[in-house]
Amino acid sequence: MKKLFALLLAAVMLMSVTTVFAEDDVITLKVAHIGPTTGAAALYGLATLHGAEIAVEEINAAGGKYRIELINEDDEHNVEKVINAYNAALDAGAQMILGTTTSKPCEAAGAQGYVDRVFFLTPSASSPAVTEDKDNVFQICFSDPNQGLASAQYIAGHSLGTKIAVIYNNADVYSTGIRDTFVAEAAKLGLEIVSETTFTDETTDFTVQVADAQNKGAEIVFLPMYYTPASLILKTAADKEYHPVFFGVDGMDGILSVEGFDTSLAEGVMLLTPFVATAQDDLTVSFVAKYQAAYNEIPIQFAADAYDGIYILIAAAEKAGITADMSAEEACELMIAAMLELQVSGLTGTMTWDETGAVSKTPMAATIVNGEYVFE
């Protein structure tokens, strides 16, 4: 009897919680996620989609003033298709866009959105061209130049060494963007670039690049790239018994989950990242648990960015007073104004924004020790 009573009471309480906002007061925002959910960059598009889905579930279950209806459109990481995806999202009634996941498509869609007046919040498009000359686009991740800058400053500030080798993908916007500012900043800080070698998306053999760094006696090898080529470089270096300090950027996150990769090779690798899945704070632990339960994999930084993105959109919408019947054009100006006054704490740090659309948050450097990320 007692149990039944408790259950009843719980039910009543639950009812009272959910009825705080009567159905009329609940505002359902239509948010479109645009990213590559098929094709070569699907890994990143799916990560942002899944991250966003978890946040949307949480928000809709919490029963606040705002609910979110998530629309998903695939852009195939293609500059032409992204415009189709963007138009399809607006046809479906999207009021704002969470996306796009990758840089070049985001540049194209954001420019179209600038003309049409549609608000974009990109979780992970990090090229500066994404926000340049567009007041409607805001970033959650660091821009590439900022990562290059922060990496050079970190290496100089912590006296990790002065002879540096850089290996980068010269066919990739992300990689060249970071490399450009890194090299420029390194020169200013008195760091010496002794070796600089390139590769492309098709490269699978890094013997030449690693040998060049080794022969020229580099103490630090800077790897501005995603983790797949980085894992090959670590393997090649280990085979050559070359053990410098490897320094990566946020694309390196995920290296420990590469299939068939001996994680001991990544021992001592340093990387600049705003999110690590093994962090012990409550928010990260709960996010990682939910993500693993839903998708059976460890979330990468992209997923965390998108998860934060949904909460940022809700916070900005609340501040801007967005209603369900507003068109994307009407919502855009209000959202832009609200973003400038916003401060949001999420998985990837405490964030504020300025007119350029770039985020400011503190970069963190992690070192891989015993197969786990350790922050200083």
Binding site: N87, A88, N170
Partner: protein, 377 residues
Amino acid sequence: MKMTRAKRSKIIYNIVTFALVIGAFFILQSMIDAKTISRSLKGQLVPICCWIVMAVSLNLVIGISGELSLGHAGFMSVGAYTGAVISGVLVNLYGVQDTTLRLVIAIAAGGVMAGIVGALIGIPVLRLRGDYLAIVTLAFGEIIRNLVNVLYIGTGDGRVYSSILNKKLPEGVTMLVDGAKGAVKIKPISTFMAGFILILITLVVVLNLVNSRAGRAIKATRDNRIAAESMGVNVTKYKMMAFVTAAVLAGMAGALYGLNSSTVVPTQFTFNQSINVLVFVVLGGLGNILGSVISATALTVLPEVLRAFADYRMLVYAVVLILVMIFTNNPTIRAITSRLFAPLKSFFRRAAKYAPAVGGAVKELGGEEEGEEQKHE
């Protein structure tokens, strides 16, 4: 003045092709004016025009002249980059604000550049027999892609700066082409009208060429090179004519395509993209210009229509492709469709017979010179 049966059917074919393109244009344009068109379809109009031109021009090389070209996207990228640079230079240095003028100059320049590149490739390769063109164009597509990957062009201080391999431009230069970042900060100026006109130009050029003396020579070299040579046909010259024309048209399509977006990246013009255009051509039928127009449109729109299938979209797309291939090559189904269209065909045939005025007008378009026909006979 009596027309042969084959000639009549050619004229009908040309009427249908033009009528279809012009009709589609007016329907879509009226939908735009009435604002009943969806955003999604409206956004695809210019790309569809570009892919139609790409498919028709590639069909000229593959279907009409019988050479396999696997680098058609390379010509498109030459046109796209040239168009973007020319348009940027016109604005930044000469202050040309008129978008129509800029678009016309950019498209013309894109065509000329691609034509020059096409001639450079064609001169050595088209002298050879065999599948060399396929191999060389394949390599060419990749070379162009890797070249633009390390190409830097910018404007500043009243002049154009450029460098290759390393970004050695002075500070404060407005970048037009920025290496791996592609052509950047393009002001989109392409219009559906421009795309439509480009398709018309392409059709007039290609259909005229195909039905002209030169076109017959091109087809003769395709069907039997030795016989054509023994008749005194200069094989290299006519193969060059088809190949360079196709390159020019692809360059123009590329310029239109590039200026439709705010940015163009080298990775858009990979080998896969060339194969994509090849699929349009094969699906539409080798040598069938109308078929290329229809298949390029259908295959560009199809993935967008299939968005409802979400994750299974590309799978459904592939299945549709296979089914279409099977059905269009099935003799029973072909017999049924030809029977279905028979009344329509006989109507056009009669119309062409009894209305010399219409026939005459079409003849102009089709480029059928009566005297020339006689000469060959």
